[in-house]
Symmetry: C2
Subunit: 160 residues, 2 copies
Amino acid sequence: MAVEIERKFLVVSDAWRAQAGEGVRYRQGYLTRVHGDCAARASVRVRIEGDQARLNIKSARLGIRRQEYEYAIPLDEAEEMLATLVLGALVEKTRYRVPVGKHVWEIDVFEGDNAGLVVAEIELAAEDEAFERPAWLGEEVSDDPRYYNVCLAEHPYRDW
Amino acid sequence: MAVEIERKFLVVSDAWRAQAGEGVRYRQGYLTRVHGDCAARASVRVRIEGDQARLNIKSARLGIRRQEYEYAIPLDEAEEMLATLVLGALVEKTRYRVPVGKHVWEIDVFEGDNAGLVVAEIELAAEDEAFERPAWLGEEVSDDPRYYNVCLAEHPYRDW
């Protein structure tokens, strides 16, 4: 199983929009809690991305090898689950892809309970891989768990 | 969505075995807790039935209309999830089908942490539908939540 190396940053201006493709709307929610005394051993996420729906199961255990399973499911069933079965808030965002040098940034513009939050992610092949830092890039938050999507469901940005 | 009407009984002898077909082995576990302060709004179950694996999501809310979603998943992924991600005990049993009159009983012979427990279930078209009561049939436990499979994972028979 491959290891995903992602770095996450805040975004300090809208200058990235000039290079952005069309955004894709994401709505997702979690059937499990992964924090505190009630922590499950895996998160179960329902996500609607554009008109595709998927169920995602990811081991809560951090470490080198994090198990992840993903299954396509019918859109109407995902809509029902998001409407009735999730814990915490829905995480709603539009994701834009922005090419910069030889990488593509994914910029998530959050809505709903997380409105006001904009984060940029880059996937790297190695932890020390160099990448271009555009002018709109702000502080790095890779190690701040508050920015994990599952945390944004349990403790949304507007309550920070 | 159809309403499932099932009645569940203890089994007082092995006499049913003469009429039983070949058993199918079930192993299942839950990624969620559904009781107490940690209750999720839905149970997420991984089940291996013979050589078929399925993920099942069921609303925890009781009532006339209980939502249920089921998806086939790869066997090896189900094995991994059962080995590493479930909460509580695995529920392991062999299910036998036993025709009696115009109904078919499903008899679950539990193993592992629930060894010693044998229950018989019958599915009816209406709550007051009549059915034949074979000599091996014991006390009805339809309304006793301890016998729910999800409860047998959280609080197995050997700890009763």
